[in-house]
Amino acid sequence: MNRFSDIKKDGFFTHQNMFKAAGILVVLTLLSVWWVCGLFAKYKNLDEKNDVTSVAAFAQISVHEHEAVLTNGVYTLDTDSVVEGNDYPVILPGTMIPKDPFIIVTDSSETACEVYLEAVNVDKPRDVIYTINGSSWLETEDFAPRYGGTVYKYKDTLPAHTGAEITDILAGNRLIVKDSLKDKSQPTDNSNEFSIVFYAYLVQAD
């Protein structure tokens, strides 16, 4: 028995049935778009190479800082040397550690973009503190942090075809080590090795 011919024979494609189907279709579509897009489809990640080649040109974004040099227990920044990250093997209570992260965005985007920063602390003791520059960055929940950190949005939208070097990230360009920090030989919660990690994101503007 040919099911399709039977359906056709029984008048499946009647106006009434099609109208019903269309109504159900519209409702289901609205519901699923709202739900699915909210959960999964909000961002199309361009970190994969094949994604980049298949869409309109999008800029590159990276985070850098100047190299920290340790001399007799004192850190200074070498402004002639740009690195992807620094090691600070000796930090002392009651001192300040120079750190000047900056973000570079290339000018190859064909769309306007928003810049986001995710700051991730890994085992950071409470006695080491830093502040993201509040006059340029606002903590946001625009999207969930990818690495469990805190996400901040930059104040300015970058126009299309506009590169940028964003330097005003850390207030005072420094970490503050409180005088209560203790090394691991002392019985307090502190001072195993810890990390501070920054990620920057470029998001297509509305």
């Binding site: 049935n17 159900i24 289901l28 579509t29 699923s32 778009v33 699915v36 489809a41 909000k42 961002y43 990640n45 361009l46 970190d47 800029a59 974004i61 990276s62 985070v63 007799n72 227990g73 004192v74 850190y75 200074t76 992807e84 990250g85 620094n86 090691d87 600070y88 000796v90 930090i91 002392l92 209570p93 009651g94 001192t95 300040m96 550690i97 120079p98 992260p101 769309t111 080491v128 420094r174 409180k178 005088d179 209560s180 920090l181 203790k182 090394d183 691991k184 030989s185 502190n190 001072s191 090795e193 810890f194 990390s195 501070i196 990690v197 920054f198 990620y199 470029l202 998001v203 297509q204």
Partner: protein, 201 residues
């Protein structure tokens, strides 16, 4: 009845499938592009404390004990420190016990020490007058030509002992409010009479 139910089921299935297809298309249309950077990572570690060590020379002259060539070597932990030392002078019995009476300076022993590089505080500690770099050694507290010398016979069955106790503290940093350096906060004195700010020059 069965046919009617079958038709309704077909309509619903068709609608669901179409809705899902439309959703997939819509998601791509309204999705935003996002690109992330590689990690910019700093690893940090608190400076560790390594106890200083003492070098000295112990001998006797005419049956009288003396000690000289006393110097302090600090730990090699990557930061400069201030140093202070104390001389604990006691009588020890032959059984290794500490005699009840303590030797008195000027009566039982004399002390000559290096006043160019060390000062004696009111608290009895000897303070080295400048910061010592990581792994470095102080100028002698008691030099080669100087001595802590026993000048009076020991109590019966006793001998003089001199123990050198040392402490170091970071020469950088201050209290959170910046009102005191670390050494002033811990020891109540600034051995080199200079305020030192840690971290940034």
């Amino acid at each position: 009845m069965g046919a009617e139910r079958s038709k309704k089921r077909t309509v619903i299935v068709f609608a669901i499938v179409a809705a899902l297809l439309l959703t997939a298309v819509s998601a791509n249309i309204i999705a935003k592009y996002i690109k992330g950077s590689p990690a910019q990572e700093n690893t940090l570690k608190a400076g560790e404390y390594d106890a200083p060590s003492v070098s000295d020379n112990v001998d006797s002259e005419g049956g009288m004990f003396f000690k000289n060539n006393v110097a302090v070597t600090v730990g090699d932990e990557g930061y400069p420190v201030y140093v202070r030392a104390d001389l604990i002078v006691t009588w020890h019995t032959s059984g290794g016990y500490i005699y009840g009476q303590q030797p008195v300076e000027g009566t039982d022993y004399t002390l000559e020490y290096n006043t160019d590089d060390w000062t004696k505080g009111d608290d009895g500690w000897f303070y080295y007058t400048e910061a010592v770099q990581s792994g470095g050694t102080t100028a002698p507290l008691i030099g080669q030509t100087q001595k802590l010398s026993q000048i009076k016979a020991a109590p019966e069955g006793c001998t003089m002992h001199v123990e050198v106790i040392t402490e170091t503290i970071q020469a950088l940093g201050s209290t959170d409010d910046g009102s005191k350096t670390a050494v002033m906060d811990a020891w109540g004195t600034q051995p080199d009479d200079q305020q030192t700010e840690g971290g940034q020059p």
